[in-house]
Symmetry: C2
Subunit: 223 residues, 2 copies
DNA sequence: TTTCAACTGACAGGTTTATGTCAGTTGAAG
DNA sequence: CTTCAACTGACATAAACCTGTCAGTTGAAA
């Protein structure tokens, strides 16, 4: 984890909003300049808003601390996802909070609670490998909802690229990867795809209806 | 990432709820039995409910698909965290959903929306390394809220173990690590601690009040 | 057009991590 | 008490990853 530590340190150094030369950072962290350049690559790829200018140095584009985030009804989808992730946390409070949700949904959010929750803000940055494949999730989610067929370019683990037309049925999160369960028209059977291995998603004009044998409820992973 | 792929494959194999011998899994994935035993360790440590019985084989304790999760007002804290994480996603829909929250909080959640959101469920498993340090978050959060001093046993990156009494002020998430910003009584200054490097948190009976110079609003990372 | 510092590619050495092999032990069931 | 297969520890090798060095190129500003 030594490298992770250094990436974190670099963010802390840049956080002051001032200009920093790679050389100086390298000296301070006792690594070579080349390593700093590589680290900067990683940070940029991870979404940290740092900008390097030739002949000048590095500086963060915007202040790294974000305003407090709060929540809304219309984003219940996003919330559901968030809760699934939070339930993953080892923190027992958060875990049980996320797990005891089902029966209280239609209640009102008292504004008073909101003020309390402002006690902390989050400065959140995506880190590249965690985000792999997430770009496909929006069209997939939309297609599940609208019952729209999809065309997938899917790269199997052995490297083979396959093309399929599918009926998207269900997404699941497995802690490391997301999967898409679908009825595959080509193979005439249910298939589970890893979303991070999908190369391209193309929504097709064709819609699908519930047909016996092709519904999610017909899918039995035991068989 | 080859190993990650295999861990995922193992989960898929076990998912059928049937009995599997390490030997068979090893053959199928073309690795040695010993490697499978090591993988099983990792999966168990990551919270996958798999059980091995000597002389028998491996089987998952419960079905891996969970019922749909929904949300509640009382867990606004958990939600806030969840949204922070969701905002991290590259998925533009989810991102904007999470980002456009602030002004709609006091609204009601119409039950109608809820039904729609049931379109997907999540099977969520913690994976060990992501969870490091999360165990401390509950007491820290509680202490921030109740303005209670904390005693920290903190291991610096160089390995040194230090003991400090602090006023916990603020938690932040940096994509890789959580930090705790606090006023350190020992050093009489603001310090930022990485939560994953905290060895132990002990809430002290002593409370603290806002004192000029020791409040979060007095903390200026630029200085 | 010179200087500065960001940036890139290639290669080599070192460290860390993953895996296989081997030689055991353990607990349950027959 | 024998069998089965989960499990453990130790060690060696192989693969992956990280880092430094070197020899460049590029873009902006003075």
């Amino acid at each position: 984890m030594r490298r992770t530590d250094r990436l974190f340190d670099i963010i802390q150094i840049l956080r002051d909003g001032k200009l920093h030369r790679a050389q100086d950072i390298a000296d301070r962290l006792e690594v070579s300049v080349r390593t700093i350049y590589r680290d900067m690559d990683t940070l940029v790829a991870s979404g940290v808003p740092v900008e390097g200018e030739r002949g000048v140095g590095y500086m963060v584009r915007e202040q790294i601390t974000l305003p407090p985030l709060n929540l809304t009804p219309a984003e219940l989808e996003a919330l559901n996802l968030g809760m699934a992730i939070v339930a993953e946390a080892a923190d027992p409070d958060l875990k049980s909070a996320a797990e005891s949700l089902a029966d209280k949904i239609d209640a009102v959010l008292p504004t008073q609670v909101v003020a309390e929750a402002e006690a902390w803000k989050f400065a959140v940055y995506p880190f590249a490998d965690a985000a792999r494949g997430l770009a496909h999730m929006a069209p997939i989610r939309a297609a599940i909802k609208s019952r729209q067929k999809l065309h997938l370019a899917y790269r199997r683990i052995d490297g083979t690229l396959t093309n399929r037309t599918i009926r998207p049925l269900h997404m699941e999160y497995w802690g490391r990867v997301w999967t898409l369960t679908a009825w595959c028209e080509l193979r005439a059977g249910f298939r589970v795809f890893r979303i991070d291995l999908i190369e391209a998603v193309t929504p097709l004009p064709e819609l699908f209806t519930d047909e016996p044998g092709k519904r999610l409820s017909d899918y039995d992973p035991h068989s």
